[in-house]
Symmetry: D2
Amino acid sequence: MINFRTDLATERTEIYKKTEGIEGTINGIETQKKDINDKISVEIVKIINEEGERAIGKPKGIYTTIDIKGLKIAQEDEINQSAQVLSEELKNIIESHIDKQGEILIVGLGNETVTPDALGPKTINEIEVTRHFINYMPQYVKEGTRMVSAISPGVLGTTGIETVEILQGVVQNTKPKLVIVIDALASRSIERISSTIQISDTGIVPGAGVGNTRKEISEKTLGVPVVAIGIPTVVELATLISEGIDIFIERLQEKAESNDYLNKLQQNDKYEEVKEALNIGDYNMIVTPKEIDGLIENMKEIVSQGINLAM
Amino acid sequence: MINFRTDLATERTEIYKKTEGIEGTINGIETQKKDINDKISVEIVKIINEEGERAIGKPKGIYTTIDIKGLKIAQEDEINQSAQVLSEELKNIIESHIDKQGEILIVGLGNETVTPDALGPKTINEIEVTRHFINYMPQYVKEGTRMVSAISPGVLGTTGIETVEILQGVVQNTKPKLVIVIDALASRSIERISSTIQISDTGIVPGAGVGNTRKEISEKTLGVPVVAIGIPTVVELATLISEGIDIFIERLQEKAESNDYLNKLQQNDKYEEVKEALNIGDYNMIVTPKEIDGLIENMKEIVSQGINLAM
Amino acid sequence: MINFRTDLATERTEIYKKTEGIEGTINGIETQKKDINDKISVEIVKIINEEGERAIGKPKGIYTTIDIKGLKIAQEDEINQSAQVLSEELKNIIESHIDKQGEILIVGLGNETVTPDALGPKTINEIEVTRHFINYMPQYVKEGTRMVSAISPGVLGTTGIETVEILQGVVQNTKPKLVIVIDALASRSIERISSTIQISDTGIVPGAGVGNTRKEISEKTLGVPVVAIGIPTVVELATLISEGIDIFIERLQEKAESNDYLNKLQQNDKYEEVKEALNIGDYNMIVTPKEIDGLIENMKEIVSQGINLAM
Amino acid sequence: MINFRTDLATERTEIYKKTEGIEGTINGIETQKKDINDKISVEIVKIINEEGERAIGKPKGIYTTIDIKGLKIAQEDEINQSAQVLSEELKNIIESHIDKQGEILIVGLGNETVTPDALGPKTINEIEVTRHFINYMPQYVKEGTRMVSAISPGVLGTTGIETVEILQGVVQNTKPKLVIVIDALASRSIERISSTIQISDTGIVPGAGVGNTRKEISEKTLGVPVVAIGIPTVVELATLISEGIDIFIERLQEKAESNDYLNKLQQNDKYEEVKEALNIGDYNMIVTPKEIDGLIENMKEIVSQGINLAM
């Protein structure tokens, strides 16, 4: 199988089509694009059968990608607009699984003390929870309000416990009808860092993006549907360099015409070789914009507002 | 019953003795003091039967108080020494309940974004967890190492879930033999703010100190022994003022001799009256040293080191 | 002179009138009130001569107080509205001193690592500075834009340098036409904590509110007009308790009629006595709402937006 | 001139020797190495004349580099040891310029809200300043104590003022005999991120490492000697990739023997080309270990302890 090194379904379909030389659509995958305005666009990738699953290595389900241009310098207006779009897409996915009053548990994955990993816990701090009001002060709550609770379970490295174990316990005790998890992802594209949101209804493998694969958080492990909101915050260094070398080889070939060595090399996966050559060793090197702290603040606003609106 | 307005067993025994005019010991309560050095002293209060329970309104068990003078300006040495004392006392209590390899779950209560309430979560960040190493990389772990895990479950106001519900889930799934909870307490004494540590084996009612009583976290609700480490970080304003007025009335009486109004007033609970008169309203006013951020950093060091040493 | 224990001109005029038994206006002081809406009101105190100065112990000038009810639970709308009001009042004061293009230096006083003292530095982080654009990229800046720069000079305790010394250096080198300083104040009233803004054109004595008087920052020391934006974030404990006792004595007197001891006591300044009796010692105890971290975030939004709008 | 893309004198000498094919020493540059223990080593590069200056593009002076292995997992002991080494080297350099009582101003450059840029301001928070004690409470200070003050002036982007303008003002008003500046640097080597310290007595050009060159901070601009403590916290992405491609071309050549295109390409500076090809655009992409927050905490400890010991 292709080693995609991205969690985004949209990037995977592009890579698959390029690698296999496919011009039109992939069997088993439907895609659809719409521009909301000149800054925000939405793409929906539906994997409808096992052929689609095998092609891009993701389970059957819906993967909605929202792209926001210029988030770095976004003003309040654009943040509100992006939150509105996220809210709409999120509602569509939620309402395909549960009714308007079904209780929801929102989970912020990641480590608040590690900047590019802090998006989940930071977003949780802004969620408007209602579960305790409905339980303890029902007289103050408008009839029909959805029960919402929220938790940041921490990461294996600081808790010693698999996140899925904590969530299984919480789900068993509080019995939500659906779980939303928010997590940082890896992407292949620098442009997507903290400016793309992927919503899917197939759950998540936390840490997959940053090289520490953990146990799956999904309907299979939690017993209720799991909607994942993933935001790329890093690109892995070796991924980026091996991509850089590919671009470089293409340019060489344009000039050098056929060069057997070059052709062969481009077909190989240079990831491990580059990793070794650059002496990256046991550091988990990531590529991030210098402005990552500010970008994550803006993205936190969008995701928390988007969720609060959708509830 | 007396309204103690303190979570510290040692303060409660003093108040009880003063109110009841008891000179020696309280029936059902044993106390013991020792000075570690000129800055650190330890007091152990044992409630041994129901008479003791009724007297100070706390369940049967051991309550160890460690007092540290001058923590505000403490250097590394004094912090290490205090951690050492905490570690000894904690080991005594733990080993009276489980054996040296029994798995322990450490829980940091409180809200990291509210300074005087952040001690629990901040301490958790410094705990050396081992559970995942023992589970996934047993070859790197010294035989006989205790399994330790750690979690910050958040507070009802931001999660919508009672803390005990989250912990019940985690305990059911990870099956520790003992739980240690770390929480901020209320005290009656300004001098104790962030310079006293109470260790007890009777669990905790989170938020009791700061006016938001929550469901008990104890062996009764979790099914395993619960050791609580509590640190006073605030004094409630109305408590302090009604105490101030008591002192004031005493001084008046010394001069005015018998004054019926004063006598009667001193016997009443002025807390609610003062609260109303000062228009404290629905703010939850607290008294805290201006240096609270720094004090909590020092205390975090002591508690996390103390726990790590005891494990 | 009366010991006012508040930095707010409006509180001082009230205390002065009460102490002196004045019903109408104080000679040398003009006041004016207006309600913006049911949540926001504005009061302007003008000290017009030396008689006014002597009465309330503040230099001649304008003191505008903006009161905002319910800031604790304020939504975006109310924050924007409050910022709008602050912006109007600030513009009035600035334009009475310099023209629309006169360069302004904004200074955030206080210590970012001490929660109730962090408002100044936190606000500075949100100010839109333009000075460097105008200097280095004039082609991108709209004609007539005011030069704005911003600095957080730290506090004496962590820099070892008087704030005014740092500012004198910066003012000499960058030559602004006016300086705006933002600082935390002390108030006598719990209700004013982080819900009142005082704007004055007479400069500031930093730390005056929290017991560490420093050198004056004003036109006298900096050579250009200094507009101060002050926000009460703490009430001193002893102030509050001695006020509590006053209220208490009044109630006693209502019942006990004439009581010489009580009468005499009420006239004394009980501050020092209370401080000693409660053993407050060398801690600088403050009274603060538990929600102070959140309140300061909201206030930071208002002040930074208000300034940005006024520029 | 060679485009070095590193602030470290030791990396520059290596690059220069490799590019020029020099085996022994560079004219005008003296180097000296010592191993403190198996984790810590020190290298001193002295540029002694203009020939040395021209070779590596740095002004005459001493450049001491301390390398610390395994800082990521460093314990208290290793941190203390590293601080000790820094303190010794720093004392050597300071004492070659001023006497034991000469007043020192310590400056933390960088932006505290941007993780890889926060080292300077974070270190300043831990410096033990004495200037105000000596000025206001000389009776409590041991005779012969050096006056130390400390400031974090912020960055041009948030103040609108060139850092050197602020420092000129402060130096004019407080008259220190020497200035120490702490700043984040760029390196060419991933291994050096937050594990190398360079001390030099030639001042600094802030932001040079991260692509925003600002005005020089040196004896020339401040009028007193400027010792710079620089710590690499980032590698620029395009630097790293063009290095990656060089390594890659070398491997190609080993197999392909002479290849004119490859030879020519390796001699070109691919930095700009790579930057463009990868669409890095106006983001300032950096490469950083995922653990950068923790590394910066450890490094802050070493630098602040090292400075405090040297004072």
